[in-house]
């Protein structure tokens, strides 16, 4: 496996792992927001947890994964729909950079 780890292979693993992580996070995300049905108190109880440092880091991680998956997906659709096959490695690197920028902005606003 390691022998064949070229840049686009790494981009593929990043896309798959981020997608899986987001899919696993969604039920939790929906469940917490659904608490608002039973009044603001229940929701607030969970939202106070977001002040914890490790929760802030986890949120940053989720925003990073979301941005990475979205920009990585744009790269794949540019290849498939527009035939942008040259420069795929540069585009993969750019999508990672954009994801870091977007999630970094989020993190700086969060702390």
């Amino acid at each position: 496996m390691k022998a064949r780890a070229h840049p686009l292979w790494i981009a593929f693993v990043a896309h798959r792992v981020s997608g899986l992580a987001l899919a696993l996070f969604l039920p939790l995300h929906f469940w917490v927001l659904g608490m608002a049905l039973r009044g603001a108190e229940g929701l607030d109880g969970v939202l106070t947890l977001t002040e914890l440092p490790f929760v802030k880091v986890a949120e940053f991680g989720l925003v990073f994964l979301l941005a990475l998956h979205a920009f990585g997906g744009l790269r794949l659709m540019a290849l498939e729909r527009l035939g942008w096959s040259s420069g795929q490695k540069t585009m993969a690197a750019t999508s990672i950079a954009l994801a870091i920028f977007v999630s970094g902005t989020f993190f700086l606003k969060a702390i």
Partner: protein
């Protein structure tokens, strides 16, 4: 395991979600400033048809997209095949849609 129909669903939902993800991230960056409270979130979304449609369509698109994505991974990495794979895909899609629409309803129109 992915035919043209599932591929089209996967790509169309992806395209739909591009502006929604950008909007969602922008909202999060705006909303996270000064911490999160239920009052602040609900104050923004409660009674808003716009946010209901925004997050309602987001939930439907992501339910289909995630179900197909997990289907692929379940097949390639765990070897799930045949009717189990079909049932898994449908359960994930319906489960996410139900949970997500309930959450959307809770913060907008409830």
């Amino acid at each position: 395991m992915l035919d043209l129909r599932l591929y089209m669903l996967q790509r169309i939902t992806a395209l739909i979600m591009i502006p929604l993800v950008i909007g969602h991230i922008a909202t999060m960056i705006y909303a996270i400033q000064g911490g999160l409270t239920a009052a602040e979130i609900l104050g923004r979304t409660q009674g808003s048809v716009f946010w209901f449609l925004f997050y309602g369509s987001f939930v439907l698109a992501v339910s289909v997209h995630a179900a197909i994505g997990v289907r692929v991974v379940a097949h390639e990495w765990l070897g799930v095949v045949g009717s189990s794979l079909r049932v898994l895909t449908i359960v994930i899609a319906l489960g996410l849609a139900a949970l997500g629409l309930q959450a959307t309803f809770a913060v907008t129109l409830a």
